[in-house]
Chain length 268, copies 3
Amino acid sequence: MKKKRINAYGLLEKIRKDGPVVHHLTNWVSIYDCANAVKVFGASPVMAHAPQEAAEMAGIASALVLNIGTLTEGLVEAMKIAALSANKKGIPVVLDACGAGATGLRDKSCFRLLDETKINIIKGNASEMARLAGRSVRTKGVDSAIIETDLKPLAGKLAGRRRSTVVITGKEDVVSDGSRTFIIKNGHSLMSHIVGTGCMAASVIGAFAAVEDDLAYAAAAGLVCFEVAAECAAKKSKGPGTFKGRLYDCMYALDKKTVDTLQRVYVE
Amino acid sequence: MKKKRINAYGLLEKIRKDGPVVHHLTNWVSIYDCANAVKVFGASPVMAHAPQEAAEMAGIASALVLNIGTLTEGLVEAMKIAALSANKKGIPVVLDACGAGATGLRDKSCFRLLDETKINIIKGNASEMARLAGRSVRTKGVDSAIIETDLKPLAGKLAGRRRSTVVITGKEDVVSDGSRTFIIKNGHSLMSHIVGTGCMAASVIGAFAAVEDDLAYAAAAGLVCFEVAAECAAKKSKGPGTFKGRLYDCMYALDKKTVDTLQRVYVE
Amino acid sequence: MKKKRINAYGLLEKIRKDGPVVHHLTNWVSIYDCANAVKVFGASPVMAHAPQEAAEMAGIASALVLNIGTLTEGLVEAMKIAALSANKKGIPVVLDACGAGATGLRDKSCFRLLDETKINIIKGNASEMARLAGRSVRTKGVDSAIIETDLKPLAGKLAGRRRSTVVITGKEDVVSDGSRTFIIKNGHSLMSHIVGTGCMAASVIGAFAAVEDDLAYAAAAGLVCFEVAAECAAKKSKGPGTFKGRLYDCMYALDKKTVDTLQRVYVE
């Protein structure tokens, strides 16, 4: 594994300049934070889940983010409609497999989306991604049930089989498109003590994928910017509550020097 | 255009004294903020969207706020039921036309509510209001796609045609009931860097309309109080995240002297 | 009424050690705060309302929290499925009767859940609980419409009739299982000036009930920890907005000495 400097800030600058529309069909817990994360980074979030408008809204967007955190059968049907519209238009689709491995409905819904539409970026924690790779893991609600020393083979294999970019988040994040693997060692433990940072990461990845065709690179850059901002926010926080407010401040104010200095990216 | 002093604080005082119930059928992104904005100003928010109780809940309320931000066909049907109940009771109905002009479903839903119920206050950004006035505008998700120098004619014409009060929010807000026009030049740029301030404005207008029959005056007063609080909050903030917390502090603590000193209202 | 020292912190320690999964079917207004309250206290929240997975998710949980704040008929049906699964597994079920007494649908839904499933802890404000006890109270949306000097008989009678633990929140909280009554005199007035603290209290009670079989004791301990944290947060806040962030900080950092020193619990 070799340390590598990536121009993550360059993509953030592009988002701020272009303000791409990022369409979401997401969960009702972190829906505000998914939208706001995208907003403070300079993109234009839109949340629209009615089956009658999902395709049309995807048509005016530059990326689509799906998150099954509080799924229903009807919502998954609308996700499929939106994804097929995004596929047709050629914009990237991100799937946050929130809670895969916890119930049959979550597994079935993920597999349905993966099989019947083109998902360009699959994202989840170790437990969720192991389940999508076919292992019989029992996710603890939406928290990971497994801790592995090396998640790179899991990411690489799933990426190869699904011809997608795979993102496994955790203390270290693994991003693989089957040929290259990025490891991101940024972030702060406070992120795991509040609800929604995982969902926010998927939305941020959507915003970065909206402005960069190399999706593994875009995902890595998005995670770097989000997690470097979290490191800055943690320094100014008294706990998880004030951290959340500061996180948005730091995302909004993030500059090139900070991103370049604090990033810890490795490639294989 | 002439500068005019309005007694915006007088209405806020009435809200704090009476604690009117403000019923919402709103979106899942900013639903907490819609409720909390109304709450910190002293009113009593209630969110109830089941068609089986929408009419009954509107019946115990003093104002009804509808927001189509994450609409579905079923939700719009419930909005219609609630609006007809509010109409019957004679309480004001506010419609936030969130995302009108972005999809056919949003346009169709707004026109249906406007045609089949009495909407007393129609609120949106320039792009959304232009769409409702019949122009072929393509709203950028929920962000305005047009910037105009003078929105007063648009507001006035739509107000006249719909016999409603029209509120167009932006850098400057325009409020017209067809005969009078208020321009509010308060607010702060940080408001446009977080999600939900537009929705909060509609809810605040609902609370003010609950205590004042002159709806253009109520809407103008609500915007003044909300945006003066935002100006105070911005001074104490480090960015959009801390701004949000401070905004609620400042709304809660808003006093007569601050409102009277900082308000910048113009009439025509 | 006698002052009594309870080992509330002991249960919090157990939550932090075990990280129990707390399954919710709750409302769309405070869903983030319900999840985050449980999270910062060390439990693992999961929100899942699809009827197809509600039973399975309850099966991997250690407690179930139901909240009818933004109910629909379909959601109440899913709540019933989840509750029956929780009953079968023997994990405690908490019902927050949010808005009972405001509409017929809310009353009917509460009675249906109480009659057709086993609810172990029933929680609400004075107005909501009076309605569930059969009185013809008209709740003001989700705010209580009655102020009584002594709510202990109401709590005791309802607890006896339903063979449940009853929690009435207010300036003073009353917890009764029909034989014992706890009065908790902690908390801060800022809690009533933001939306969602009542819902958060129900979720916190769920987390405490997940690690303690004596449900009245668990509910009292949960309220003590939540409200002592609120007292600490209020001291560091400038208003209701900054209070909210500080509340999470103080919940996360809550220690034995603070809980033991500040708790004000009385028994009868």
